[in-house]
């Protein structure tokens, strides 16, 4: 097999569908790190106090975590309850469309109840509901080349997946179809994923949309199993390359993305990671001992570099432990 270059990485990742070699996912992130990201989080009406409380809490968690991904809290907008009326949502989506440029990313997160009458999806909000068609029209007005991620964690959200997906738009829904009408648990675990080391499986300090999805779906299934209940929601990803989206960053390193020394270390790290990725592609062909013998020296190099990153972060005032797992 020919060696994979940095540019080939997303192609390889796609060929592996929803699972990818960790380093290749990591490399893809490096390529998108400089793009501007805008996030809109909307919590719909709960109908009951307990749901209102939950949706508000989840939207706060998602908004807070999203700020780590955008690098700027001002690029995260949260609409909830009475401030999430139809006109508010329309205005927010229009404003985002005006701000974003080619290469930027836009993420929309919907939390709450949805309904589907067989032909039209509706997001339940204060005042008249907003329909799926209305939201789709607004999303379609985003400039060409803006990568979009929609996370619709509402009931019946599966109804919009195929309609909304586009080559530059990945759609994550809490349910498989418009027929799954029970209030899903997916939203809670999506929110949890954005602040979870466990969700960050490759420990690169960035939680991708795919990692958050895998975390949330696993937790949903575990929760139903724990309750010995029939699973009434089946989340799905529609669209390609959900790994392109970093939905949260963990650790303190993200705060120093512009430090020249860290940038240099990141470049060095990327080079080592590329060599490791080459070896990882050979894993199936090698005996386990041989494979480990080959990757060990590369991993040692990375580990040494990790020490240098931590040393630099320490001089920037990050205490030991805060940089743990983080990509410089």
């Amino acid at each position: 097999m020919a060696a994979a270059s940095l540019l080939e990485a997303p192609v390889i990742a796609r060929s592996l569908r929803l699972s990818c070699l960790p380093l290749l996912c990591g490399l893809a992130l490096v390529g998108t790190a400089s793009a501007a990201t805008q996030v809109l989080v909307i919590a719909g009406l709960g109908g009951e106090a307990q749901f209102d409380e939950r949706f508000t809490k989840w939207s706060e968690q998602v908004a807070k975590a999203s700020a780590t991904a955008t690098g700027d809290a001002a690029r995260v907008q949260r609409l909830a309850g009475e401030s999430a009326r139809r006109e508010d949502i329309q205005a927010a989506l229009r404003a985002a469309a005006e701000k974003l440029r080619e290469g930027d990313q836009f993420m929309l997160v919907l939390l709450g109840h949805g309904s589907f009458d067989g032909s039209e999806y509706r997001f339940n909000i204060a005042g008249p509901d907003i329909t799926g068609s209305e939201m789709l029209a607004l999303l379609d007005r985003m400039p060409a080349g803006v990568l979009q991620l929609v996370v619709n964690a509402t009931s019946t959200s599966g109804a919009i997946a195929e309609r909304w997906v586009k080559p530059n738009r990945v759609v994550i829904t809490a349910t498989r179809t418009g027929g799954e009408r029970n209030a899903p648990r997916f939203g809670a675990f999506w929110a949890e994923a954005l602040a979870s080391d466990e969700a960050d499986r490759d420990k690169d300090g960035a939680v991708t949309a795919l990692e958050a999805f895998d975390f949330a779906t696993r937790k949903v299934n575990d929760a139903y199993k724990s309750d010995a209940a029939v699973v009434t929601e089946h989340a799905k990803v529609t669209g390609s390359e959900p790994t392109r989206f970093v939905v949260a960053r963990l650790g303190a390193a993200a705060m120093f993305a512009n430090d020249a020394q860290l940038i240099a270390l990141r470049t060095e790290q990327a080079g080592i990671e590329r060599r490791l990725a080459q070896l990882q592609l050979q894993r199936k062909e090698l005996q386990q001992d041989e494979y480990f013998n080959r990757i060990e020296p590369v991993l040692v190099e990375l580990a040494r570099l990790g020490v240098r990153v931590d040393t630099r972060l320490a001089t920037l005032g990050v205490r030991a432990g805060e940089s743990s797992d983080a990509k410089p």
Partner: protein, 760 residues
């Protein structure tokens, strides 16, 4: 924790069984059991054919019945088909007979008896009830209904039976039923009187005596004497009368004497090879004895003879499903763990640990070392477990012990917090010992009571945990005297009496332990080895009369539950108020009400207990130390709900009381071991305390549960192996971790340490 199963009681597998039993009536082939109709309304034509049938001259009988299929009388045709084993035809003919004479009682009785033979008790009951609606005074119908109740182990049989028998003094079946019920109740003299009266009547009425002989033989068996006089007499009358030996086997099963039952079932099959029910019971009992491969051919034969027996079909399916299981053989002590293959790496380590601990504990406490391997079977599918236990009377169970073999549900597929599998295992393992030291002669109540006591005092959930229902039953004078406590298990007379009897038995053992000391309790247990009755053993060992024993126990109950008994309604009100205040986040009032409820009934630790409300109120008010105290008290009193334990663990961790947290989080594994969450946290704590082997167990389980975060799990494995000195395995798992997450900083640091790298 009682081993009663709420889910099973709700009848989860009934639809399947119903479907099968419908087929049973529709298509069953030859039924080889001999039906004896004592009713004087039976037609003379049928009675002529009954004679060779009852004497075991099968072909002669069939030749006699066959022409009756063309008889003018619909009921004669139906009964002839029934006698010939053509139940499908008989079913239709009985239906026609009932339709032909809608106000007739007798055809309904005959039809009902056919259903009873086919195992469809509900249908039988419905027909007997219809018959009684037509004629409430019909003695045979009343006896038939009592028979159904008796077979369903309902408790209301004994009360009315004496009157029923007195009113129908010449009804043989009434005396036979009275004898059966008396044997089950341990009233053997009464049983002999009833059976002798039945025998006398059979002679007077020229009816077959074999069922009366069976009851008399059963009494001898229960008295541990040779029943040869009666078995020889029965075989002299009918050399093919296997039903008697099957019945003797059934009586032994009810006394949990599986080895003895094996002898009787084998004779049943030897005497009457086409007694399909006997073959099935023989096979089921072989399985109880762990002789699975011997059981299979008998089940296959039973299936071929009666392909629609629910128990046979389900058990054969279970045998097929055993391919999904793996037998793990442990030594010193010898234990065979039969687990679903997927559960070997996840549940297996905890089962092994608890099995070893329980055997060591009980060997010490009861002075008995098992002389053969103990088999522990754990079923993730409750239906498989239910089939495994088929043949036992009564309600749904979570665990059951057949001597040196115990079977139980796995926590898989059950809601977290539904049951504490560790306590179930502990409880069942205690049965292995109490049964063994008494050669299975321990009364049911004492065996259950000691198992409950062991749960409370030595098991993984120590603490006397009861429900208010048992104290309410005490207050209402509904607890049975010690000498009759078996009735509470075998023949309950009110709802929940079985559950209450478990708790009463546990409390009696607790009382006896406190009053006379545990060695005396063991002496009491061993006294049953000599076939003593409860009354005699109480007198001989505790040197008090059963009445005095009961009086002292009542005082124990009054003292222990004085606060609750003073005003039970107040406790209920306090509990309601505590929950209401908690919901309203009124921490102060919730705390006050819940503390008062705890003070009134500290032994109640079940779901929604006052302890948990108190802890939540304290936490809500910011009093974390007090919340910890509340949950620790709850746990000490027997609380085990995994959510509560996790909460306690989290609070202890937040308070940096890691050693205590470790012990609490480890306890979660005996309630909810298959949840991914928690193993990593516990593993880390164990590593902090240099407990490498224990940490390794946690990470092995975690990896087997296929966690999302494999990097962290492999890192934990690496650290654990390193601590245990296995450097090669440590390196392998560390590299596995970094292969998944190359920039996983803690793993990187360990790699540098292990490679001796000196980073500049």
């Amino acid at each position: 924790m009682l081993n009663l199963d709420r889910a099973a009681r709700s009848g989860r597998m009934r639809p399947v069984l119903a479907l099968l039993t419908l087929f049973a009536v529709a298509y069953a082939g030859s039924a080889a059991a001999v039906d004896i109709d004592y009713d004087t309304r039976r037609s003379a034509a049928l009675r002529r054919c009954d004679d060779p049938q009852h004497h075991g001259r099968v072909e002669e009988a069939r030749g006699c019945y066959r022409p009756l299929l063309r008889d003018d009388n619909a009921l004669v045709r139906a009964d002839a088909a029934y006698a010939l084993g053509d139940l499908r035809n008989a079913n239709e003919l009985f239906r026609a007979a009932v339709a032909a004479d809608p106000r007739a009682v007798y055809p309904r009785l005959r039809w009902g008896h056919m259903f009873l033979d086919a195992g469809q008790k509900d249908d039988a009951q419905r027909l007997f009830e219809e018959a009684l609606e037509i004629n409430p005074r019909d003695g045979a119908a009343r006896i038939a209904l009592a028979l159904v109740s008796s077979e369903q182990f309902e408790g209301n049989v004994t009360q009315g039976l004496a009157t029923l028998v007195a009113e129908n003094g010449n009804a043989i079946e009434g005396h036979l039923l009275a004898a059966r019920v008396a044997i089950d109740a341990g009233r053997l003299d009464d049983a002999v009187r009833a059976a002798q009266r039945a025998l006398q009547l059979t002679q007077q009425q020229q009816k077959p005596p074999v069922e009366a002989y069976t009851m008399l033989a059963a009494v001898e068996v229960v008295r541990n004497r040779d029943p040869g006089e009666w078995t020889r007499a029965a075989l002299a009358y009918n050399p093919r009368y296997g039903a008697m030996f099957e019945a003797l086997g059934d009586f032994e099963i009810r006394r949990r004497r599986y080895t003895e039952a094996d002898v009787w079932y084998k004779r049943a099959v030897d005497v009457q090879p086409d007694l399909w029910s006997g073959r099935r019971e023989y096979a089921l009992n072989l399985m109880r004895l762990g002789r699975i491969e011997e059981a299979r051919p008998h089940l296959v034969a039973a299936f071929e003879g009666d392909p629609f027996s629910t128990a046979t079909v389900n058990t054969l399916r279970l045998l097929d499903s055993l391919q999904k299981f793996e037998m793990v053989k442990l030594t010193d002590p010898a234990v065979n763990l039969q687990l679903n293959k997927q559960e070997v790496p996840t549940l297996g380590p905890y089962v092994e640990q608890l099995a070893r601990e329980s055997i060591a504990t009980f060997s010490r406490r009861y002075g008995y070392k098992p002389d053969a391997p103990i088999t522990v079977e754990i079923y993730p599918d409750h239906d498989d477990f239910a089939v495994r236990t088929a043949g036992l009377p009564g309600i749904g169970l979570l665990g059951v012990t057949f001597g040196h073999l115990l079977a139980m549900d796995s926590p898989a597929g059950r809601k977290s917090g539904d049951f504490h599998w560790g306590s179930v295992l502990w409880h069942e393992m205690a049965h292995v010992f109490t049964l063994s030291v008494t050669k299975h002669r321990v009364p049911r109540w004492l065996s259950e009571g000691l198992s409950v006591l062991e749960e409370w005092t030595t098991g993984p959930t120590p603490g006397v945990s009861i429900t208010p229902a048992v104290v309410d039953a005490f207050a209402a004078d509904k607890l049975l005297p010690v000498a009759r406590l078996d009735d509470g298990f075998m023949r309950p007379t009110y709802e929940d009496q079985v559950q209450i009897s478990y708790q009463q038995a546990g409390l009696i053992c607790l009382f006896a332990e406190q009053r006379w000391g545990f060695p005396k309790v063991v002496e009491f247990l061993r006294s049953f080895n000599d076939d003593a009755t409860t009354e005699a053993s109480v007198r001989n060992v505790f040197k008090v009369s059963p009445d005095d024993f009961d009086r002292e126990f009542q005082k124990f109950m009054r003292d222990r539950y004085r606060a609750y008994l003073a005003d039970p309604k107040r406790w209920t009100e306090l509990m309601r108020r505590a929950h209401t205040m908690l919901d309203a986040r009124n921490w102060a009032n919730a705390r006050e009400a819940s503390q008062a409820a705890v003070d009134m009934l500290p032994d109640f630790t079940g779901g929604g207990s006052a302890y948990e409300v108190l802890a939540e109120a304290e936490e809500g008010a910011g009093n974390h130390a007090a919340a910890i105290m509340a949950l620790q008290s709850w746990r000490k009193a027997g609380g085990w709900d995994p959510a509560g334990l996790r909460k306690l663990g989290a609070l202890l961790l937040a308070a940096k009381r890691n050693t205590e947290a470790t012990e609490v989080l480890a306890a979660v594994n005996y309630a909810d071991p298959l949840a991914v969450d928690g193993h990593d946290r516990l593993g880390q704590l164990l590593l902090e305390q240099n407990r490498g082997a224990d940490a390794l167990r946690e990470y092995r389980v975690l990896l087997a549960l296929q966690p999302l975060d494999t990097a962290a799990a492999n890192f934990g494995m690496a650290r654990s192996y390193r601590l245990t000195g296995d450097r090669a395995q440590a390196r392998r798992h560390l590299l596995e971790s970094l292969d998944t997450a190359p920039n996983f900083r803690p793993a990187q640091k360990l790699l540098l340490e292990m490679t001796g790298d000196r980073t500049p």
